[in-house]
């Protein structure tokens, strides 16, 4: 039976994104605020984050501070990899729950739960499928990722490699390279062009990062290569609409960050109030989004997740509506 939240309890919450200033995290903040209001939490809600150039160290610092402040729960989109594990463990020991969302702690250490936007394994499948449909089933493609340190991107790429190796229907797809644009337009743009030059037969650039996918699409458009090399990956409809309409990036996927923030806040509230223990098998209701069950995270041994899903694949039929 699904646990329901008792509104009006005092839970002090911190939403800690990778860094401030870009759209997806702001959307998550919106969702989190919506949930916090619904829950009528009498505690505080903070949306704080580091600067982009100081992301990993800043997150570690902010998690430590939240522990000192005896916050009840910190909702973390982790950008520090396992480097944050020790601090997260210390937070748990001091009574501050750490719930990750968007990007987990790879080892699962110090993490109560991970609110997964989608199943990481299935992102691998979706990415492979999108390549499949764009190449027509055979050909070379490359990945343009964020940074080599981005845990969620790395997990997705791994998942995709696994799917490619295991499922015979992808046998004619060839992943030729993985490069990193460090989530900077300029670097991503140049890397995308570099891929095209290095692999003349390249058919798809798969960019599982919102910055990378736009930069790659722009690069292909600028070089008039949209017919030859398609771009795909994970992107925001608002930023991708023109490239989808003109065929440079006919297909890409994403989930709702608003919902992710909303669900994360519900989960965190329930966990902090003790309504759920964070054990595998527990089921709870997250407001408008319905019921969710805590399960073992298949990608990370010993870690637990709440799976939001599904995500939307955008193409020229639905992208315009979504970009409004």
């Amino acid at each position: 039976e699904a646990v329901k939240a008792t509104p009006g309890q005092a839970v002090n919450m911190v939403l800690l994104p990778k860094f401030l200033g870009i759209l997806p995290f702001d959307q998550a903040d919106r969702g989190a605020q919506e949930a916090a209001k619904e829950l009528g939490s009498t505690g505080t809600y903070q949306y704080i984050g580091p600067t982009p150039e100081n992301s990993a160290a800043g997150q570690i610092e902010m998690l430590t501070t939240a522990t000192t402040q005896k916050q009840n729960v910190v909702m973390l989109s982790n950008n520090a990899g396992d480097q944050i594990a020790a601090v997260a463990e210390a937070a748990q020991a001091a009574g501050t729950k750490v719930v990750t969302w968007d990007s987990p702690i790879p080892s699962g250490k110090g993490e109560s739960l991970f609110v997964a936007q989608v199943d990481f394994g299935s992102i691998g499948t979706v990415m492979a499928d999108m390549v499949m449909s764009m190449t027509g089933g055979a050909g070379e493609f490359a990945v343009l990722s964020a940074s080599p340190d981005a845990a969620n991107q790395n997990a997705w790429i791994e998942a995709m490699k696994k799917v490619l190796a295991e499922d015979a229907k992808y046998k004619d797809l060839k992943l030729v390279d993985v490069v990193y644009g460090n989530d900077q337009s300029e670097e991503s743009y140049n890397k995308a062009l570099g891929l095209v030059d290095k692999y003349p037969d390249l058919k798809v650039i798969m960019a599982p990062t919102t910055v990378g996918i736009v930069a790659a699409a722009k690069a292909m458009q600028d070089e008039g290569l949209c017919e030859k090399v398609k771009v795909s990956g994970l992107g925001l409809p608002a930023e991708m609409v023109s490239y989808t309409m003109n065929g440079c990036a006919p297909e890409f996927a994403l989930w709702s960050f608003v919902d992710l923030g909303y669900l994360t806040t519900y989960t965190s509230y329930l966990l902090a109030t003790g309504a759920i223990k964070g054990e595998v098998g527990e089921t709870f209701t997250a407001g408008r989004m319905g019921d969710f069950t805590i399960e073992a995270d298949p990608g990370r041994e010993g870690a637990k997740r709440v799976l939001m899903g599904p995500f939307t694949v955008y193409n020229k039929d639905n992208v315009e509506a979504a970009s409004k």
Partner: protein
């Protein structure tokens, strides 16, 4: 021969060697396409490298130049999304104007506040970025909100020779370098940059208005960062708060490889152009080199820059020794 001329020759030789090396390593390296790639990529950096060079010549440094560029790209894009009908020339003026304004703040603090430039610009580097995060409210400027002429600008050809396309952005960037280069060698007022950087005390004694010259250098550097910001906006279309991050170090790298003395007083725009192109060529070529995996690129880039500077130091030292013997 003049030591500066020798410097340029050494640099040009290094660039030639780099290009020759990569042409043996990468198929189709010496092609029109590669020219377009590298020229358009270097074009975004060139104006800020030129601006940085002017500041460095006056024995200062502008570390806020990347943030300035980001702020300009963002604000210009933001304004354009509300006023798409603005004339292109005015857009360019707007971008350079915002940059110049930021440069003026730096310049005033350095010139009249007597705060060392590294401190001022280290401070404004952070401040401008903070401002942008605060101002942008996490909105992204997208190509969709920009006027079409701007989105098309990066592909616009200025002219073609021997099948090589020279893009408008490249011409704009080069024009900034050429104009500044001519000013620096021909205009009496611009010669003061060198005087001030060479010996600030003597400059004061010689009746040069030191604060004014310093201010001018920063305003120019800001305006040129504005030009870079404009090119950045045109080229990438999507501007977030991280736009231009890390460009301060890129510009310093281009300037020092280009033979501008980091201690002030000497340097040439020809050198800066070659330096910028050299660094960018190495960077762009490494991404295309089969033998090098993604994870080796940074190490190679760093050591190649170092090698270029070391060779340049040895060569220009050797050459100037030779020429001294001749005379």
């Amino acid at each position: 021969m003049h030591p500066q001329t020798l410097r340029i020759l050494a640099l040009a030789a290094a660039l030639l060697a780099t290009v020759l090396f990569f042409s043996t390593q990468i198929d189709g390296y010496l092609s029109e396409r590669m020219f377009t790639r590298i020229s358009t990529s270097a074009a975004v950096i060139l104006p800020i490298a030129v601006g940085q060079a002017i500041v460095v010549i006056t024995r200062n440094i502008d570390l806020s130049i990347g943030s300035t560029m980001g702020v300009v790209a963002y604000l210009t894009g933001d304004y354009l999304s509300g006023h798409p009908e603005l004339h292109p020339v005015l857009v360019l003026c707007l971008a350079m104007g915002i940059g110049a304004g930021i440069g003026a703040i730096n310049g005033i603090l350095v010139a009249w506040g007597r705060v060392p430039s590294i401190i001022v610009t280290l401070g404004t580097l952070a401040l401008l970025r903070s401002f942008l995060v605060e101002y942008s409210d996490a909105r992204t400027i997208t190509t969709a909100s920009l006027p079409q002429w701007l989105v098309d600008l990066p592909q616009a050809n200025a002219f073609s020779i021997f099948g090589i396309d020279v893009r408008v952005t490249v011409v704009l960037a080069l024009a900034s370098a050429v104009v500044m280069g001519l000013c620096l060698s021909r205009l009496r007022a611009a010669r003061r940059f060198f005087a001030v950087g060479s010996n600030p005390d003597a400059a004061v004694m010689a009746g040069i208005n030191l604060p004014m010259v310093t201010l001018l250098a920063f305003v120019l550097s800001g305006a040129l960062a504005g030009l870079s910001g404009f090119l950045f906006l045109a080229k990438f279309g999507n501007i977030t708060v991280v736009a231009g991050m890390g460009f301060e170090l890129k510009s310093v790298a281009a300037v020092v490889v280009g033979g501008v003395s980091i201690l002030g007083g000497s340097g040439s725009m020809v050198g800066v152009v070659i330096g910028t192109v050299l660094v960018d060529t190495i960077d762009n070529s490494l991404t295309r080199w089969e033998l090098v995996s993604e994870f080796w690129r940074d190490a190679l880039l760093g050591f190649l820059i170092m090698a270029a500077v070391t060779v340049d130091t040895f060569m220009s030292r050797q050459l100037s020794r030779l020429s001294r013997k001749e005379s």
